[in-house]
Symmetry: C2
Subunit: 184 residues, 2 copies
């Protein structure tokens, strides 16, 4: 039941955002009563915090951190994720954007707890890429690359490209950024 609510909230926050999603919507979609909803999540803020910590963080881990760690190099890992996401969006036919970015924009100025939770996910994301660059450097590659700078540009480029892709409803910007990033 708690899981069903989180599923519904994750999807609704992604599609319509936090403020545009009401408890009534979630009760309908998840098929739960108001009592049950407020039993598991006493406030809307508690629900959003749970979505961020349990779902958004996991999505970034699965989509970005694990693939980059498993890749043969940082650069190849970043390329592969861009490629995979672009291909998925092209097949899907619409773009809902990055869950982390969507919530970060709407909530990070609204509440310090939201902001801290979201900032932590961004930091972990960048750290995973920077660590991979450092690992590459241990093996003699990427000597001229600053790990922190590269990680920031990879994350920012992806986030920004997803913003544009969402606004244009076209994954093209992801492909453009991937091509430009290849020369960075």
């Amino acid at each position: 039941m708690r899981c069903k609510v989180l599923d519904a909230a994750e999807a609704a926050f992604q599609a319509r955002g936090y403020h545009a999603t009401s408890f009534g919507d979630l009760m309908t979609v998840a098929g739960v009563s108001g009592g049950a909803l407020h039993h598991h999540f006493p406030t809307k803020k508690a629900l959003a915090l749970a979505v961020i910590e349990e779902r958004v963080a996991a999505a970034v881990e699965a989509t970005w951190i694990a693939p980059v760690k498993a890749a043969v190099s940082a650069r190849e890992g970043v390329r592969a994720v861009f490629e995979a996401v672009a291909t998925e969006l092209e097949q899907q036919g619409f773009v809902r954007g990055c869950p982390l970015n969507n919530l970060a924009h709407e909530l990070s100025l609204a509440d310090p707890d939201f902001r801290a939770a979201l900032a932590g996910i961004f930091a972990a994301w960048r750290k995973a890429i920077a660590d991979k660059i450092k690992a590459d450097q241990q093996e003699g590659r990427e000597q001229g690359t600053d790990p922190q700078h590269f990680a920031a540009l990879a994350v920012a480029g992806y986030s920004g490209a997803m913003s544009m892709a969402k606004t244009a409803q076209d994954p093209g910007p992801l492909r453009d950024c991937l091509a430009a990033l290849g020369q960075a």
Copy 2:
């Protein structure tokens, strides 16, 4: 009066977002009555559309398009804007994010009219940078650079860096991206 409302709405949308801003808030801040507000903007959507078309577009023009056009090269223009914004944010002490990105995330999936207006601004922004690269190429520089790819990465890098800066309340990511972009 109409201008005062647009001022208040622009600031409120930037600071709290569209859904979190009520007509009551704007009436208080701008010091206008409900009748006056609804006379100039019959619906909240009409108000947001006016803010996007008259204020957000102008902000992108003033912050990005004009400086890039006036710069000695595309690369130098991009660098100068990153630098100027980072410096301004450092002095300011807080980060509210990019007005275009903030509204794009909240509104582009909510309504086709919003989406079209926002997508147009993104397109003009990218076009200005791509055109500048083409101008550089006319003068023999940037021969190995794809204008569209470079413009996409510049805009995405800035947008994404501003997202991170807003979430972290620290302009550092802008400086990191600028440094990494210098090698692209």
